[in-house]
Symmetry: C2
Subunit: 416 residues, 2 copies
């Protein structure tokens, strides 16, 4: 079962926005056994859209289009769909009522004709009701293929995918089972890793595909498998994981979670334990706090964090002794540990993490080399820190530091 | 002059990563007058890659491919390029030397044959020297078209684009001038805005294209123009902007900067003024701090910030009086203002911004409705706050709050 995703919008092609919709859709489709064959981003231009539709129809069973459904003149997706299917627009009463109630309850501005006209839909289509916006999703079936057109605004698209598209696809198609499992390794290059597991890789069954994903000091190994029988797929992949783990004992740091991100694993565990967290961030500049609070439910465990970027703020706000900084420099194990401990006491949390380092490009308030970062963890019983050399690239240094901090915390809270 | 971007990698199609490379490349190409016709993300699969190459060649003059250049078995781009051009691999001495010196100076692990073999390149190609990684960029010319293959790791791709690809394209092609100018409006819906400027839009010259980009309470209006003569393009676009501005006087809040983001405009102005900034974030959870510190040079103006997520931390760390919270609730103008002032005093900064609100999905430590956010700004002479109702969607509430905070600050620092 193959899908193609078409995202329409010049803003993607000129780099004004990053297309995050496709990744969301691809991930969600995979969970129900639909593989994405291709993602195509195209211009708001009639001929180009028609060409992409035709190519997608020849490639895939399910075509999901986002963008171009707004009320303004540059929104041409709906008309182009009519051209493609030799169809015309008719007014949909349920959508009309939805728009009226949205305007009455939320928008509270005059309802215009162009808004009401968003209820005009291709006559061959079924509506996918958009409860948070005026553009309905459009569902058209033709020769056992499905064309789905969704608004490009991410939260509208997400709700429609989850509440309308996925349930309908599940009913319409018998789908195989797709499994991705990703092992995370740290501290070894891609080619060295490949050498270590060469023999295992060579003997992988044909229905299991291996990918190497290097990023910020980690190499992730993704095993992907597809099959009719979910139990069989799971069993086969797990068997291969059991074979490879002894080969990468030193480098293996964990399996990537289904929901992807380390901070989610940590937040679940902290919530489960009823423990709380605080942060004192210097070189990571609030990025760790932002990661945790980007997910709902953070208030259950996250007490807060301080971004003490300037050296003076570490003294004034955290209360790190000035002499400690003078003696050891601001980028040091001692200062990192003091920061973590002070943050823990200030926020009265069970755990506190701190980062201090030099992300570059220039040396800051210390003589530490660019890329040197200290990360400390304070708990009720102990404080410890670790030194990292994270390279010369600012972006990488910060990202690696964030990852390393999360890993240190994860290790600690999963200990018992 | 048209380009097509092809990103290769199953990780994009299964939604394991978001493709940020394409936006970077698209934006950079636009600056030298190259338009991106299409972005195509495809599987690590030989047939699919060959098909995409052929289609791209028929669509565009410049084909830029990223991904699949690593040293492991799943990296097949280079071999597939050979298939496509009926070519074979030959060892490139300059690249070999580069790899050797990278391993000696940075990697400091044993140099393996697979690493050395990254210096094998299609015989018809020229190398684009990758000074930070072992995979060289590949440049192949054929019938006045260019195929460029780059590694998928973002920072390697970025350096190669900036230092190798762009300069070479500038020499090879005579290019037109592309201009995008984006006006930002706030507090009015897309359709209302369209109605206000309908007459102006209808009379736009054919070589100027208008796009509406609604997002988080703002609607951005992008004017795009292309032409042989840069002065003429600039003059025409500016003339249209002068015509439309009086029509959107109330809603217009500024022109989107070339570098895009509001925090860059603010950071430049603060650095210029020699003024400093501190933050006290509650519902924005560190996102504002992260925005500022994601750019180099933040230490010139950014003192730091506190994430006081839990109510108790606002009392314990910021020193907001408990009685103030009891009287007005934690989500109130009074508490926001106290937070900003306390942060400014703690960090000894010229400006401090605070946010307190309820991002949802549930009500927190206050009775405030989901979506209610107070933002305060403290300066040496005054403290003031503003109340916002930002809707029910957590992600939007946080993003709108971040935007609003930046806008309040921007207005203040550009006053004089």
């Amino acid at each position: 079962m193959l899908a193609e995703i078409i995202t329409i919008g010049d803003e993607i092609l000129i780099g004004q926005i990053v297309d995050t919709n496709s990744a969301f859709i691809g991930k969600l489709l995979n969970t129900i056994g639909v593989s994405v064959y291709q993602i195509t981003s195209i211009q708001d231009e009639r001929k180009h859209i028609l060409k992409a539709f035709a190519e997608a129809e020849s490639n895939a069973d399910i075509i999901i289009v986002t963008g171009g459904l707004g009320p303004t003149k540059d929104d041409i997706t709906k008309h182009t769909i009519c051209d493609y299917f030799n169809d015309h627009l008719v007014r949909n009463e349920a959508v009309t009522n939805n728009i009226k109630s949205l305007w009455r309850d939320y928008v509270k501005q005059p309802l215009q004709q162009v808004n009401l006209d968003q209820a005009l839909m291709p006559s061959q289509s079924k509506e996918l009701m958009n409860t948070v916006g005026s553009a309905p999703g459009i569902w058209i079936e033709k020769n056992n293929k499905v064309f789905i057109s969704l608004p490009g605004v991410p939260y509208e698209m997400k709700l429609l995918m989850e509440n309308e598209v996925i349930p309908k696809l599940k009913v319409k198609y018998k789908r195989p089972y797709i499994l991705h499992k990703t092992l995370i390794t740290y501290g070894i290059g891609e080619s060295m890793l490949a050498e270590k597991i060469e023999d295992w890789e060579t003997h992988l069954p044909v229905h299991i595909k291996l990918a190497y994903l290097p990023n910020f000091g980690k190499v992730r190994l993704r095993l992907s498998a597809i099959g009719a029988d979910s139990e069989e797929v799971i069993r086969d992949v797990d068997a291969e994981i059991q074979k490879v783990l002894p080969l990468i004992k030193e480098e293996y740091i964990g399996i990537e979670e289904e929901d992807g991100d380390l901070e989610i694993v940590i937040s679940k565990q902290l919530t489960k334990l009823g423990k709380t967290l605080a942060l004192a961030e210097s070189c990571t500049g609030g990025k760790i706090a932002e990661l945790f609070t980007s997910h709902a439910g953070a208030s259950a465990y996250f007490k807060g964090g301080l971004v003490t970027y300037a050296t003076q703020s570490k003294i004034d706000i955290l209360g790190v002794p000035e002499t400690l900084i003078a003696t050891h420099s601001v980028v040091s194990a001692e200062v990192a540990e003091a920061m973590a401990e002070k943050a823990r006491l200030l926020y009265k949390s069970d755990y506190a993490i701190s980062t201090t380092g030099n992300a570059g490009p220039l040396k800051g308030d210390s003589d530490a080399e660019v890329g040197t970062v200290f990360i400390a963890l304070a708990t009720k019983n102990k404080i410890f820190s670790q030194k990292f050399e994270l390279g010369k690239n600012r972006e990488r240094v910060v990202n690696k530091a964030v990852n390393s901090a999360l890993e240190i915390l994860k290790k600690e809270i999963f200990k018992n």
